[in-house]
Structures are given as structure tokens and as C-alpha cells.
Symmetry: C2
Subunit: 102 residues, 2 copies
Amino acid sequence: MEKTNHDFLEEETVQEVARTFKALSDPTRIKILYLLTQEECSVGHIAQCLNMTQSAVSHQLSFLKNLRLVKSRRQGQSYFYTYDDEHVIGILKEVINHTLHN
Amino acid sequence: MEKTNHDFLEEETVQEVARTFKALSDPTRIKILYLLTQEECSVGHIAQCLNMTQSAVSHQLSFLKNLRLVKSRRQGQSYFYTYDDEHVIGILKEVINHTLHN
DNA sequence: ACATTATATGAACACTAACTCATATATCGC
DNA sequence: GCGATATATGAGTTAGTGTTCATATAATGT
């Protein structure tokens, strides 16, 4: 096929798609998001569940929040996080299931 | 929820899921895979279409081949690549469409 | 107001990843 | 066999990523 006959994605589109997948490409972030599919979690709870430092978890949460994949609400001294992108969570679950059944 | 009541993924599963998403997290690989959804391509053709060096494309193809996301056949001096994982291509298309319609 | 608890944030560090450059390998036409 | 073409591959470089450590911010209980 000639180059001119191909369908090319806009550079901006490619970048955005890459960003989405990148968010899901780290084991820690996968674990965090998977936890959040089960319940709203505080930072400390996540850290405890995943055996990670508070700081490491917080950094990743702020990463996910920038991409609007999670959101947070304050309650007293704690922040509670929930996922905020049904589509991305759906993709994650799909790949997890596919991986489990292979 | 108590930690013991959560559902945790096997470490191996998480790693594999992360690998899959990582494959899709780079703009170049996205472009290559998207091209391959349209037709079987030689390395040179891909390089020309994407304005990249032969070497850069070849490195990424070998990356994708290691994960069995693409396969190649030789024809004369050329190698022709096709995608080799319907599920991953499906995920890619889904995220592309979702990105386009937002 | 002060100590405590929970979280966020910035800097530094180690590790990884993608590209370039040079070169190796393999096929083709002659 | 030889030059030309197409691709693969290894080393080196540079940019990016995830963690730790130290510290800042903010709410709570006394």
C-alpha cells in the first residue's frame, strides 16, 4: 500500500493513547487501581495492603490523579481515593482477565 | 475493608499485565501496530511511513516480537511483519476509538 | 498552642528505555 | 564471487521513571 493510502493517527491522539497505556504499565499503579476497584481507600490503607511506603503510594496517586484516573476526597486527616475513569478500569480488568485465562 | 478481605493479584499476573500495557505505552510502537492493522508491512515501509530510521523501527519490532505481539516472514531480502495478538490489537483499537471520541 | 497523625511534595539516586551509529548477516542480480 | 539492498544487532548516549529520604502542610485531640 502506498504511504498516502494509509490511515495515520494524529500525533496528539497517539500521545494521548500512549499516556493512557503508560498509566497502566507499572505494577504499583496496577495494584493500586485494582485495589480501588474493590473499595475506596485511604493512602495509608493502600500502603499497608501493598507493603509500600506512604511516600511511594502518594507519588503514584498524584500521578494517577493528574491523568484523572482517580479522584480524592478529604475526610479528617485522611484522603480517600476512588477510581475516576470507568473506561480505563474496564480495560484494566479485561487485560487482567485475559492474562488469568491464558 | 480488612487487608485479608481484599482480592490480590499474583505478582506474576501483575507483571504480565504491566508488560502488556508497557508494549502499548510508546508512541512509536502504537504507530507501528496501527500500521500493521492495515496491512502486512516490511521494515523499510514502516520506517518510511513513520519517518524513522530503519534501525529504530527494527529495534521496536524485535521488542514487539519478543512479546509475541507481531510475527515476521521473510520474502527475499525483506521481512514482512504482521500483528500476532488479536486481543492486544483489540485493546489498542478500543483505546484509540475512545480517545478519538472524547 | 502543641504534639500527633495523615498526606503531599521536592530533591536525589538508581534503573530503564528509546534512539543513533557502526557493523554484521543474509539475499538478490549480475 | 561481488556489489547492492534489506534487515538485525550491539554499544553508547540521553532522557525518563519509580523509589527513598527529608521536609512541608494540614487536621485532630488535648
